[in-house]
Protein backbone atom coordinates (compact mmCIF):
# COMPACT_ATOMS: atom_id res chain seq x y z
CA UNK A 1 0.00 0.00 0.00
CA UNK A 2 2.82 2.36 1.00
CA UNK A 3 4.58 1.47 -2.22
CA UNK A 4 1.47 2.41 -4.25
CA UNK A 5 1.18 5.72 -2.39
CA UNK A 6 4.83 6.41 -3.07
CA UNK A 7 4.34 5.79 -6.80
CA UNK A 8 1.26 8.01 -6.86
CA UNK A 9 3.29 10.75 -5.17
CA UNK A 10 6.10 10.36 -7.69
CA UNK A 11 3.76 10.38 -10.67
CA UNK A 12 1.95 13.42 -9.26
CA UNK A 13 5.27 15.22 -8.85
CA UNK A 14 6.17 14.49 -12.47
CA UNK A 15 2.76 15.65 -13.69
CA UNK A 16 3.03 18.85 -11.66
CA UNK A 17 6.55 19.43 -12.96
CA UNK A 18 5.55 18.84 -16.57
CA UNK A 19 2.47 20.99 -16.19
CA UNK A 20 4.50 23.71 -14.51
CA UNK A 21 6.83 23.76 -17.49
CA UNK A 22 3.94 23.83 -19.92
CA UNK A 23 2.56 26.94 -18.21
CA UNK A 24 5.59 29.16 -18.41
CA UNK A 25 5.98 31.97 -15.95
CA UNK A 26 8.03 34.79 -17.37
CA UNK A 27 9.24 36.14 -14.07
CA UNK A 28 9.58 35.07 -10.47
CA UNK A 29 6.66 37.15 -9.17
CA UNK A 30 3.81 35.04 -7.82
CA UNK A 31 0.42 35.51 -9.49
CA UNK A 32 -2.12 37.23 -7.28
CA UNK A 33 -4.87 35.28 -5.58
CA UNK A 34 -8.37 36.52 -6.25
CA UNK A 35 -10.51 37.68 -3.39
CA UNK A 36 -14.24 37.18 -3.70
CA UNK A 37 -16.55 38.56 -4.96
CA UNK A 38 -15.02 38.45 -8.42
CA UNK A 39 -16.25 40.36 -11.47
CA UNK A 40 -15.41 39.33 -15.03
CA UNK A 41 -15.54 42.05 -17.65
CA UNK A 42 -14.13 42.70 -21.08
CA UNK A 43 -11.85 45.35 -22.54
CA UNK A 44 -12.86 45.14 -26.20
CA UNK A 45 -16.09 43.13 -25.98
CA UNK A 46 -14.68 39.80 -27.14
CA UNK A 47 -16.80 37.14 -25.45
CA UNK A 48 -13.76 35.34 -24.02
CA UNK A 49 -14.84 36.55 -20.58
CA UNK A 50 -17.80 34.23 -20.89
CA UNK A 51 -15.43 31.31 -21.44
CA UNK A 52 -13.60 32.24 -18.25
CA UNK A 53 -16.88 32.48 -16.33
CA UNK A 54 -18.10 29.10 -17.63
CA UNK A 55 -14.79 27.41 -16.78
CA UNK A 56 -14.82 28.94 -13.31
CA UNK A 57 -18.31 27.59 -12.81
CA UNK A 58 -17.04 24.16 -13.79
CA UNK A 59 -14.56 24.26 -10.91
CA UNK A 60 -17.19 25.52 -8.51
CA UNK A 61 -16.39 29.25 -8.50
CA UNK A 62 -19.25 31.64 -9.04
CA UNK A 63 -18.14 34.79 -10.84
CA UNK A 64 -20.24 37.73 -12.02
CA UNK A 65 -19.94 38.36 -15.76
CA UNK A 66 -20.73 41.83 -17.06
CA UNK A 67 -19.15 42.78 -20.37
CA UNK A 68 -20.07 46.43 -19.89
CA UNK A 69 -19.30 46.80 -16.20
CA UNK A 70 -19.13 50.43 -15.09
CA UNK A 71 -16.58 51.82 -12.63
CA UNK A 72 -19.40 52.09 -10.07
CA UNK A 73 -20.14 48.38 -10.44
CA UNK A 74 -16.46 47.49 -10.12
CA UNK A 75 -16.47 49.06 -6.64
CA UNK A 76 -18.75 46.25 -5.47
CA UNK A 77 -16.01 43.62 -6.06
CA UNK A 78 -12.64 42.77 -4.58
CA UNK A 79 -11.19 41.31 -7.77
CA UNK A 80 -11.80 42.04 -11.42
CA UNK A 81 -10.85 39.60 -14.17
CA UNK A 82 -10.49 41.43 -17.48
CA UNK A 83 -10.73 39.58 -20.75
CA UNK A 84 -8.69 41.54 -23.31
CA UNK A 85 -9.53 41.49 -27.01
CA UNK A 86 -11.61 43.39 -29.52
CA UNK A 87 -14.61 41.90 -31.27
CA UNK A 88 -16.36 44.03 -33.85
CA UNK A 89 -19.45 41.83 -33.44
CA UNK A 90 -19.15 42.47 -29.73
CA UNK A 91 -18.94 46.22 -30.34
CA UNK A 92 -22.11 45.94 -32.43
CA UNK A 93 -23.84 43.83 -29.80
CA UNK A 94 -22.97 46.22 -27.01
CA UNK A 95 -23.40 49.44 -28.97
CA UNK A 96 -19.88 50.68 -28.13
CA UNK A 97 -16.71 51.51 -30.06
CA UNK A 98 -12.98 51.49 -29.44
CA UNK A 99 -12.95 54.99 -27.98
CA UNK A 100 -15.70 54.29 -25.46
CA UNK A 101 -14.05 50.98 -24.52
CA UNK A 102 -10.72 52.67 -23.95
CA UNK A 103 -12.38 55.33 -21.81
CA UNK A 104 -14.27 52.68 -19.78
CA UNK A 105 -11.06 50.69 -19.29
CA UNK A 106 -9.24 53.77 -18.00
CA UNK A 107 -12.06 54.53 -15.56
CA UNK A 108 -12.17 50.94 -14.30
CA UNK A 109 -8.43 50.77 -13.75
CA UNK A 110 -8.48 54.09 -11.89
CA UNK A 111 -11.26 52.92 -9.56
CA UNK A 112 -9.45 49.60 -9.03
CA UNK A 113 -6.24 51.40 -8.08
CA UNK A 114 -7.99 53.87 -5.76
CA UNK A 115 -10.02 51.14 -4.02
CA UNK A 116 -7.23 48.54 -3.96
CA UNK A 117 -9.19 46.11 -6.16
CA UNK A 118 -7.05 43.43 -7.79
CA UNK A 119 -7.17 43.30 -11.58
CA UNK A 120 -6.16 40.15 -13.45
CA UNK A 121 -5.85 40.34 -17.22
CA UNK A 122 -6.57 37.35 -19.46
CA UNK A 123 -5.81 37.22 -23.17
CA UNK A 124 -7.10 33.85 -24.35
CA UNK A 125 -8.35 34.69 -27.83
CA UNK A 126 -5.04 33.81 -29.46
CA UNK A 127 -3.80 35.39 -32.66
CA UNK A 128 -7.37 36.18 -33.68
CA UNK A 129 -7.50 38.82 -30.94
CA UNK A 130 -4.28 40.52 -32.00
CA UNK A 131 -5.69 42.91 -34.57
CA UNK A 132 -4.80 46.61 -34.50
CA UNK A 133 -7.62 47.55 -32.17
CA UNK A 134 -6.85 44.75 -29.70
CA UNK A 135 -3.20 45.76 -29.78
CA UNK A 136 -4.13 49.33 -28.91
CA UNK A 137 -5.87 48.12 -25.76
CA UNK A 138 -3.01 45.73 -24.95
CA UNK A 139 -0.33 48.39 -25.39
CA UNK A 140 -2.30 50.92 -23.37
CA UNK A 141 -3.45 48.82 -20.43
CA UNK A 142 -1.72 45.44 -20.16
CA UNK A 143 0.94 47.02 -17.97
CA UNK A 144 -1.68 48.03 -15.39
CA UNK A 145 -2.79 44.53 -14.40
CA UNK A 146 -1.75 42.76 -11.22
CA UNK A 147 -1.30 39.48 -13.12
CA UNK A 148 -1.34 38.62 -16.80
CA UNK A 149 -2.52 35.25 -18.13
CA UNK A 150 -1.95 34.80 -21.84
CA UNK A 151 -2.53 31.99 -24.32
CA UNK A 152 0.76 31.50 -26.18
CA UNK A 153 -0.88 31.74 -29.60
CA UNK A 154 -1.62 35.41 -28.90
CA UNK A 155 1.92 36.14 -27.70
CA UNK A 156 3.93 34.98 -30.68
CA UNK A 157 5.65 38.36 -30.94
CA UNK A 158 6.32 38.42 -27.20
CA UNK A 159 4.38 41.62 -26.56
CA UNK A 160 2.91 40.37 -23.28
CA UNK A 161 6.23 38.91 -22.12
CA UNK A 162 7.90 42.26 -22.72
CA UNK A 163 5.22 44.25 -20.90
CA UNK A 164 5.23 41.84 -17.95
CA UNK A 165 9.01 42.02 -17.65
CA UNK A 166 9.13 45.80 -17.92
CA UNK A 167 6.39 46.29 -15.34
CA UNK A 168 7.41 43.31 -13.19
CA UNK A 169 3.93 41.82 -13.44
CA UNK A 170 3.29 38.16 -12.59
CA UNK A 171 2.89 36.49 -15.96
CA UNK A 172 1.56 33.08 -16.96
CA UNK A 173 1.77 31.89 -20.55
CA UNK A 174 -0.46 28.96 -21.48
CA UNK A 175 0.78 26.39 -23.98
CA UNK A 176 -2.72 24.96 -24.36
CA UNK A 177 -5.94 26.87 -23.93
CA UNK A 178 -7.65 24.35 -21.63
CA UNK A 179 -4.94 25.19 -19.07
CA UNK A 180 -7.07 28.24 -18.30
CA UNK A 181 -8.97 25.95 -15.92
CA UNK A 182 -5.78 25.13 -14.01
CA UNK A 183 -4.84 28.79 -13.74
CA UNK A 184 -8.33 29.64 -12.51
CA UNK A 185 -8.01 26.95 -9.84
CA UNK A 186 -4.72 28.50 -8.81
CA UNK A 187 -6.04 32.06 -8.76
CA UNK A 188 -9.50 31.44 -7.37
CA UNK A 189 -8.78 28.92 -4.62
Amino acid sequence: MKRTQSWIAKISAVVVAVFGLAMTTANAVEPVKAEFPVLVTSFGQAPDGNTITVLAKRIGAQLTYDTLATPEKVKEFKTVIVSIGVSLKGFGAAGVNLDTEIARAADILKVAKDDNIKVIGFHIGGEGRRDQMSDKIIETYAGDFDTLVVYKDGNQDGIFTKIAQEKNIPFIELEKLPQVSEVLKQILK
Binding site: Q45, A46, P47, D48, N50, T51, V54, L55, T67, S87, L88, K89, G90, G92, A93, A94, G95, G125, G126, E127, G128, R129, D131, D153, K176, L177, P178
Partner: protein, 383 residues
Protein backbone atom coordinates in the same frame (compact mmCIF):
# COMPACT_ATOMS: atom_id res chain seq x y z
CA UNK B 1 -37.24 31.43 -106.36
CA UNK B 2 -34.12 33.31 -105.50
CA UNK B 3 -33.42 34.21 -101.86
CA UNK B 4 -31.74 37.53 -101.36
CA UNK B 5 -28.39 37.35 -99.51
CA UNK B 6 -29.67 39.80 -96.89
CA UNK B 7 -32.70 37.59 -96.20
CA UNK B 8 -30.45 34.54 -95.89
CA UNK B 9 -28.21 36.39 -93.46
CA UNK B 10 -31.24 37.48 -91.46
CA UNK B 11 -32.45 33.87 -91.28
CA UNK B 12 -29.04 32.60 -90.14
CA UNK B 13 -28.69 35.33 -87.50
CA UNK B 14 -32.25 34.73 -86.28
CA UNK B 15 -31.58 31.00 -86.12
CA UNK B 16 -28.41 31.55 -84.13
CA UNK B 17 -30.26 33.88 -81.77
CA UNK B 18 -32.99 31.30 -81.20
CA UNK B 19 -30.38 28.57 -80.69
CA UNK B 20 -28.50 30.76 -78.20
CA UNK B 21 -31.72 31.53 -76.37
CA UNK B 22 -32.68 27.85 -76.16
CA UNK B 23 -29.21 26.80 -74.98
CA UNK B 24 -29.10 29.63 -72.43
CA UNK B 25 -32.55 28.77 -71.16
CA UNK B 26 -31.60 25.11 -70.79
CA UNK B 27 -28.37 26.01 -69.09
CA UNK B 28 -30.08 28.39 -66.68
CA UNK B 29 -32.99 26.09 -65.84
CA UNK B 30 -30.68 23.12 -65.20
CA UNK B 31 -30.06 24.85 -61.89
CA UNK B 32 -33.75 24.65 -61.06
CA UNK B 33 -33.58 20.91 -60.53
CA UNK B 34 -33.00 19.88 -56.92
CA UNK B 35 -29.61 18.35 -56.13
CA UNK B 36 -29.55 14.63 -55.52
CA UNK B 37 -29.39 13.94 -51.79
CA UNK B 38 -29.20 10.27 -50.77
CA UNK B 39 -30.40 10.01 -47.16
CA UNK B 40 -29.00 7.28 -44.95
CA UNK B 41 -31.31 4.65 -43.47
CA UNK B 42 -31.18 6.63 -40.22
CA UNK B 43 -33.27 9.45 -41.71
CA UNK B 44 -36.71 8.74 -40.30
CA UNK B 45 -38.77 11.39 -42.11
CA UNK B 46 -38.36 13.63 -45.14
CA UNK B 47 -40.65 16.63 -45.13
CA UNK B 48 -40.75 19.85 -47.15
CA UNK B 49 -40.91 23.46 -46.08
CA UNK B 50 -44.32 23.52 -47.74
CA UNK B 51 -45.50 21.09 -45.04
CA UNK B 52 -45.00 24.00 -42.65
CA UNK B 53 -46.13 26.78 -45.03
CA UNK B 54 -48.31 25.36 -47.84
CA UNK B 55 -47.91 28.52 -49.97
CA UNK B 56 -44.38 27.36 -50.85
CA UNK B 57 -45.57 24.18 -52.53
CA UNK B 58 -44.61 24.16 -56.18
CA UNK B 59 -42.27 27.13 -55.81
CA UNK B 60 -38.50 27.14 -55.98
CA UNK B 61 -38.51 28.12 -52.31
CA UNK B 62 -39.77 24.72 -51.26
CA UNK B 63 -36.98 22.62 -49.76
CA UNK B 64 -36.42 19.27 -48.12
CA UNK B 65 -36.39 18.88 -44.32
CA UNK B 66 -34.61 15.73 -43.18
CA UNK B 67 -35.40 14.41 -39.72
CA UNK B 68 -33.22 11.87 -37.94
CA UNK B 69 -35.04 10.69 -34.83
CA UNK B 70 -33.12 8.28 -32.62
CA UNK B 71 -36.32 7.19 -30.90
CA UNK B 72 -34.58 7.88 -27.59
CA UNK B 73 -35.95 11.00 -25.86
CA UNK B 74 -33.55 13.94 -25.81
CA UNK B 75 -32.92 17.36 -27.26
CA UNK B 76 -33.47 18.47 -30.84
CA UNK B 77 -30.67 19.95 -32.93
CA UNK B 78 -31.69 22.10 -35.91
CA UNK B 79 -29.19 22.59 -38.71
CA UNK B 80 -29.40 25.02 -41.63
CA UNK B 81 -27.16 24.78 -44.69
CA UNK B 82 -27.56 26.84 -47.84
CA UNK B 83 -28.90 29.99 -46.23
CA UNK B 84 -26.39 31.50 -48.66
CA UNK B 85 -25.86 28.69 -51.19
CA UNK B 86 -22.61 30.17 -52.55
CA UNK B 87 -21.15 29.36 -49.12
CA UNK B 88 -20.78 25.77 -50.19
CA UNK B 89 -19.25 24.19 -47.07
CA UNK B 90 -22.51 24.90 -45.24
CA UNK B 91 -24.78 22.82 -47.40
CA UNK B 92 -22.09 20.21 -48.02
CA UNK B 93 -21.67 19.59 -44.27
CA UNK B 94 -25.46 19.37 -43.89
CA UNK B 95 -25.75 16.90 -46.79
CA UNK B 96 -22.97 14.70 -45.38
CA UNK B 97 -24.87 14.50 -42.09
CA UNK B 98 -28.10 13.59 -43.91
CA UNK B 99 -26.21 10.82 -45.69
CA UNK B 100 -24.11 9.53 -42.76
CA UNK B 101 -25.30 10.67 -39.32
CA UNK B 102 -26.53 8.20 -36.78
CA UNK B 103 -28.01 9.31 -33.47
CA UNK B 104 -27.87 7.53 -30.13
CA UNK B 105 -30.32 9.92 -28.48
CA UNK B 106 -32.32 12.99 -29.38
CA UNK B 107 -33.35 14.29 -32.79
CA UNK B 108 -31.71 16.15 -35.65
CA UNK B 109 -33.63 18.36 -38.09
CA UNK B 110 -31.55 19.25 -41.15
CA UNK B 111 -32.44 21.66 -43.97
CA UNK B 112 -29.45 21.53 -46.36
CA UNK B 113 -30.87 24.11 -48.77
CA UNK B 114 -32.50 26.66 -46.50
CA UNK B 115 -32.94 29.12 -49.38
CA UNK B 116 -33.58 26.71 -52.22
CA UNK B 117 -34.48 29.53 -54.61
CA UNK B 118 -30.96 30.91 -54.15
CA UNK B 119 -29.63 27.50 -55.19
CA UNK B 120 -31.31 27.92 -58.58
CA UNK B 121 -29.05 30.61 -60.05
CA UNK B 122 -25.48 31.83 -59.88
CA UNK B 123 -24.41 35.30 -58.88
CA UNK B 124 -24.84 37.69 -61.85
CA UNK B 125 -21.57 39.25 -63.06
CA UNK B 126 -19.47 37.40 -60.47
CA UNK B 127 -18.51 34.47 -62.74
CA UNK B 128 -19.18 32.02 -59.93
CA UNK B 129 -19.51 28.34 -60.90
CA UNK B 130 -22.95 26.99 -61.72
CA UNK B 131 -22.11 23.44 -60.67
CA UNK B 132 -19.67 21.67 -58.36
CA UNK B 133 -18.60 18.14 -59.29
CA UNK B 134 -17.60 15.83 -56.43
CA UNK B 135 -16.30 12.32 -57.17
CA UNK B 136 -17.34 9.56 -54.78
CA UNK B 137 -15.23 6.58 -53.77
CA UNK B 138 -16.60 4.31 -56.51
CA UNK B 139 -15.68 6.77 -59.26
CA UNK B 140 -19.18 8.18 -59.72
CA UNK B 141 -19.59 11.95 -59.72
CA UNK B 142 -22.10 13.84 -57.61
CA UNK B 143 -23.17 17.15 -59.14
CA UNK B 144 -24.24 20.02 -56.91
CA UNK B 145 -25.36 23.49 -57.82
CA UNK B 146 -22.95 26.30 -56.98
CA UNK B 147 -25.71 28.61 -55.88
CA UNK B 148 -25.94 32.31 -55.19
CA UNK B 149 -26.35 34.50 -52.13
CA UNK B 150 -29.93 35.60 -52.51
CA UNK B 151 -33.30 34.43 -53.78
CA UNK B 152 -33.52 34.04 -57.57
CA UNK B 153 -34.83 37.29 -59.14
CA UNK B 154 -37.18 35.06 -61.14
CA UNK B 155 -38.96 34.52 -57.82
CA UNK B 156 -38.79 38.10 -56.59
CA UNK B 157 -38.17 41.12 -58.75
CA UNK B 158 -37.46 44.01 -58.76
CA UNK B 159 -35.57 44.74 -55.58
CA UNK B 160 -36.75 47.87 -53.76
CA UNK B 161 -34.43 50.83 -53.39
CA UNK B 162 -34.39 50.20 -49.66
CA UNK B 163 -35.24 46.96 -47.85
CA UNK B 164 -37.14 47.45 -44.64
CA UNK B 165 -37.15 44.58 -42.12
CA UNK B 166 -40.86 44.17 -41.41
CA UNK B 167 -40.77 43.58 -37.65
CA UNK B 168 -38.31 46.34 -36.75
CA UNK B 169 -38.23 48.77 -39.65
CA UNK B 170 -34.45 48.33 -39.97
CA UNK B 171 -33.33 49.78 -43.30
CA UNK B 172 -30.83 47.96 -45.49
CA UNK B 173 -29.73 48.00 -49.11
CA UNK B 174 -32.52 46.92 -51.49
CA UNK B 175 -30.90 43.63 -52.56
CA UNK B 176 -31.12 42.39 -48.97
CA UNK B 177 -34.82 41.83 -49.60
CA UNK B 178 -33.70 38.51 -51.18
CA UNK B 179 -31.22 37.63 -48.41
CA UNK B 180 -32.75 34.94 -46.19
CA UNK B 181 -30.46 35.89 -43.33
CA UNK B 182 -31.93 39.39 -43.17
CA UNK B 183 -35.57 38.31 -43.23
CA UNK B 184 -36.09 36.31 -40.03
CA UNK B 185 -38.51 35.64 -38.44
CA UNK B 186 -40.34 36.23 -41.71
CA UNK B 187 -44.06 36.44 -42.41
CA UNK B 188 -46.51 33.84 -43.74
CA UNK B 189 -47.95 36.42 -46.15
CA UNK B 190 -44.87 38.53 -46.78
CA UNK B 191 -42.63 38.75 -49.84
CA UNK B 192 -41.02 35.56 -51.17
CA UNK B 193 -37.94 35.39 -48.91
CA UNK B 194 -39.94 36.38 -45.84
CA UNK B 195 -42.18 33.38 -46.50
CA UNK B 196 -39.17 31.05 -46.71
CA UNK B 197 -37.88 32.52 -43.43
CA UNK B 198 -41.28 32.02 -41.83
CA UNK B 199 -41.44 28.37 -42.97
CA UNK B 200 -38.04 27.71 -41.35
CA UNK B 201 -39.21 29.47 -38.19
CA UNK B 202 -42.27 27.15 -38.22
CA UNK B 203 -39.98 24.10 -38.58
CA UNK B 204 -38.16 25.15 -35.41
CA UNK B 205 -41.43 25.64 -33.54
CA UNK B 206 -43.21 22.51 -34.77
CA UNK B 207 -40.22 20.19 -34.38
CA UNK B 208 -39.34 21.58 -30.95
CA UNK B 209 -35.80 22.57 -31.88
CA UNK B 210 -33.65 23.31 -28.80
CA UNK B 211 -30.45 24.42 -30.46
CA UNK B 212 -30.16 25.76 -34.01
CA UNK B 213 -26.96 26.22 -36.00
CA UNK B 214 -26.83 28.12 -39.29
CA UNK B 215 -23.79 27.14 -41.40
CA UNK B 216 -22.11 29.90 -43.41
CA UNK B 217 -18.85 30.86 -45.05
CA UNK B 218 -17.21 34.27 -45.30
CA UNK B 219 -14.63 36.29 -47.16
CA UNK B 220 -11.14 35.62 -45.82
CA UNK B 221 -10.82 39.37 -45.25
CA UNK B 222 -14.01 39.47 -43.15
CA UNK B 223 -13.42 39.74 -39.38
CA UNK B 224 -16.13 37.22 -38.43
CA UNK B 225 -14.49 34.09 -39.83
CA UNK B 226 -13.37 30.78 -38.32
CA UNK B 227 -15.80 31.58 -35.56
CA UNK B 228 -19.14 30.69 -34.08
CA UNK B 229 -21.62 33.39 -33.15
CA UNK B 230 -24.00 32.69 -30.32
CA UNK B 231 -27.02 34.35 -28.81
CA UNK B 232 -26.85 34.93 -25.06
CA UNK B 233 -28.56 31.65 -24.15
CA UNK B 234 -26.15 29.69 -26.35
CA UNK B 235 -22.99 31.50 -25.23
CA UNK B 236 -21.98 28.99 -22.54
CA UNK B 237 -22.38 26.04 -24.89
CA UNK B 238 -20.54 27.85 -27.66
CA UNK B 239 -17.66 28.75 -25.31
CA UNK B 240 -17.29 25.17 -24.13
CA UNK B 241 -17.54 23.80 -27.67
CA UNK B 242 -14.84 26.22 -28.83
CA UNK B 243 -12.59 25.07 -25.98
CA UNK B 244 -13.19 21.44 -26.94
CA UNK B 245 -12.28 22.22 -30.53
CA UNK B 246 -9.13 24.08 -29.54
CA UNK B 247 -8.07 21.00 -27.58
CA UNK B 248 -8.40 19.12 -30.87
CA UNK B 249 -6.24 21.73 -32.57
CA UNK B 250 -9.11 23.55 -34.28
CA UNK B 251 -8.71 27.26 -33.57
CA UNK B 252 -12.14 28.86 -33.43
CA UNK B 253 -13.42 32.10 -31.95
CA UNK B 254 -16.70 32.82 -30.23
CA UNK B 255 -18.65 35.96 -31.03
CA UNK B 256 -21.75 37.55 -29.55
CA UNK B 257 -24.91 38.12 -31.54
CA UNK B 258 -25.23 41.75 -32.64
CA UNK B 259 -28.44 42.69 -30.85
CA UNK B 260 -29.13 45.77 -32.94
CA UNK B 261 -28.64 44.04 -36.29
CA UNK B 262 -32.00 42.48 -37.06
CA UNK B 263 -33.24 39.72 -39.31
CA UNK B 264 -30.37 37.29 -38.66
CA UNK B 265 -31.18 33.64 -37.98
CA UNK B 266 -29.28 33.40 -34.70
CA UNK B 267 -30.68 36.76 -33.58
CA UNK B 268 -34.36 36.34 -34.44
CA UNK B 269 -35.02 32.58 -34.31
CA UNK B 270 -33.65 32.50 -30.78
CA UNK B 271 -35.90 35.41 -29.80
CA UNK B 272 -39.09 34.14 -31.43
CA UNK B 273 -38.64 30.41 -30.68
CA UNK B 274 -37.22 28.29 -27.86
CA UNK B 275 -34.15 27.42 -29.89
CA UNK B 276 -30.73 28.70 -28.89
CA UNK B 277 -29.30 30.50 -31.91
CA UNK B 278 -25.84 29.88 -33.35
CA UNK B 279 -24.12 30.72 -36.63
CA UNK B 280 -20.76 29.45 -37.91
CA UNK B 281 -18.38 30.86 -40.51
CA UNK B 282 -15.47 29.27 -42.39
CA UNK B 283 -13.28 31.08 -44.96
CA UNK B 284 -14.17 30.66 -48.63
CA UNK B 285 -11.84 32.30 -51.15
CA UNK B 286 -14.44 32.07 -53.93
CA UNK B 287 -16.47 34.75 -52.13
CA UNK B 288 -13.74 37.25 -51.41
CA UNK B 289 -13.19 40.48 -53.30
CA UNK B 290 -9.54 39.89 -54.19
CA UNK B 291 -9.87 36.35 -55.49
CA UNK B 292 -8.42 35.20 -58.79
CA UNK B 293 -10.08 32.79 -61.21
CA UNK B 294 -13.45 31.87 -59.75
CA UNK B 295 -14.34 28.34 -60.71
CA UNK B 296 -15.27 25.12 -58.98
CA UNK B 297 -11.58 24.33 -58.44
CA UNK B 298 -11.35 27.40 -56.24
CA UNK B 299 -14.41 26.25 -54.31
CA UNK B 300 -13.03 22.72 -53.83
CA UNK B 301 -9.29 23.33 -53.42
CA UNK B 302 -9.58 26.78 -51.85
CA UNK B 303 -6.14 27.84 -53.12
CA UNK B 304 -5.64 31.38 -54.35
CA UNK B 305 -2.31 33.13 -54.87
CA UNK B 306 -3.84 36.55 -54.31
CA UNK B 307 -5.00 35.53 -50.85
CA UNK B 308 -1.56 34.18 -50.04
CA UNK B 309 -0.14 37.62 -50.88
CA UNK B 310 -2.92 39.35 -48.94
CA UNK B 311 -2.11 37.21 -45.89
CA UNK B 312 1.58 38.06 -46.19
CA UNK B 313 0.54 41.71 -46.17
CA UNK B 314 -1.58 41.14 -43.06
CA UNK B 315 -4.84 41.88 -44.87
CA UNK B 316 -6.83 38.72 -44.11
CA UNK B 317 -8.41 37.44 -40.94
CA UNK B 318 -8.15 33.83 -42.18
CA UNK B 319 -4.54 32.95 -42.92
CA UNK B 320 -3.85 31.67 -46.41
CA UNK B 321 -0.78 29.72 -47.54
CA UNK B 322 -0.19 27.55 -50.59
CA UNK B 323 -2.43 24.82 -49.11
CA UNK B 324 -5.40 27.19 -49.03
CA UNK B 325 -8.69 26.36 -47.36
CA UNK B 326 -10.04 23.32 -49.21
CA UNK B 327 -13.69 22.31 -49.02
CA UNK B 328 -12.72 19.22 -46.97
CA UNK B 329 -11.17 21.42 -44.28
CA UNK B 330 -14.10 23.84 -44.20
CA UNK B 331 -16.60 21.00 -43.99
CA UNK B 332 -14.45 19.34 -41.30
CA UNK B 333 -14.61 22.51 -39.21
CA UNK B 334 -18.40 22.73 -39.53
CA UNK B 335 -18.94 19.08 -38.63
CA UNK B 336 -16.45 19.23 -35.76
CA UNK B 337 -18.35 22.23 -34.41
CA UNK B 338 -21.71 20.44 -34.70
CA UNK B 339 -20.21 17.49 -32.83
CA UNK B 340 -18.74 19.71 -30.12
CA UNK B 341 -22.00 21.63 -29.70
CA UNK B 342 -23.98 18.41 -29.30
CA UNK B 343 -21.47 17.21 -26.68
CA UNK B 344 -21.51 20.42 -24.68
CA UNK B 345 -25.30 20.72 -24.98
CA UNK B 346 -25.64 17.20 -23.61
CA UNK B 347 -23.16 17.97 -20.84
CA UNK B 348 -25.07 21.13 -19.90
CA UNK B 349 -28.55 19.66 -20.27
CA UNK B 350 -28.13 15.95 -19.43
CA UNK B 351 -31.90 15.56 -19.27
CA UNK B 352 -32.06 16.38 -23.02
CA UNK B 353 -29.15 14.51 -24.58
CA UNK B 354 -28.19 14.76 -28.24
CA UNK B 355 -25.61 12.05 -28.86
CA UNK B 356 -24.06 11.15 -32.20
CA UNK B 357 -22.67 7.80 -33.23
CA UNK B 358 -19.99 7.00 -35.78
CA UNK B 359 -19.31 10.65 -36.52
CA UNK B 360 -16.07 11.10 -38.46
CA UNK B 361 -13.50 13.06 -36.46
CA UNK B 362 -12.00 16.37 -37.56
CA UNK B 363 -8.73 14.65 -38.45
CA UNK B 364 -10.55 12.08 -40.59
CA UNK B 365 -12.55 14.75 -42.38
CA UNK B 366 -9.85 17.34 -42.94
CA UNK B 367 -7.53 15.21 -45.03
CA UNK B 368 -10.17 13.26 -46.94
CA UNK B 369 -11.98 14.51 -50.05
CA UNK B 370 -15.62 15.18 -49.17
CA UNK B 371 -16.79 12.64 -51.77
CA UNK B 372 -15.65 9.86 -49.43
CA UNK B 373 -18.42 10.86 -47.02
CA UNK B 374 -21.16 11.00 -49.66
CA UNK B 375 -23.25 8.09 -50.84
CA UNK B 376 -22.82 6.94 -54.39
CA UNK B 377 -25.63 7.47 -56.91
CA UNK B 378 -25.32 3.71 -57.46
CA UNK B 379 -26.99 3.32 -54.06
CA UNK B 380 -30.09 4.99 -55.52
CA UNK B 381 -29.94 3.09 -58.77
CA UNK B 382 -29.72 -0.17 -56.83
CA UNK B 383 -32.84 0.60 -54.80
Amino acid sequence: MKIKPTSLLACVVSGLLVLTAVLSYNNFTRQWKDDLIIPSKHVTTVKWLSDYLPWLKGTRGDSRVFIIDSGVPGGTFGLLGGTHPDEQAGWMAAIILVEKLQLKSGKMVIIPHANNSAMTHSFPQEATPQFIHIPTDDGAVRVFRGGSRGTNPVDYWPDPEVFSHYQTGQKLSGEEVRNLNRNYPGRPDGQFTERVAHAIFKVLIDEGVDINLDLHEAWPEYPFVNAVGADQRASDIASLAALDLRMEGVEIGVEAVPKKFRGLSYRELSEYSNAMGLLAETPNASQGRIRGITDETLVIKGQDEFYVTATQLGRTFAKFDEHGWPLSKRVARHIALINALARTYTETYPEKPIEFENMPTYDELVDTPVGHFLNSPAAVAGN
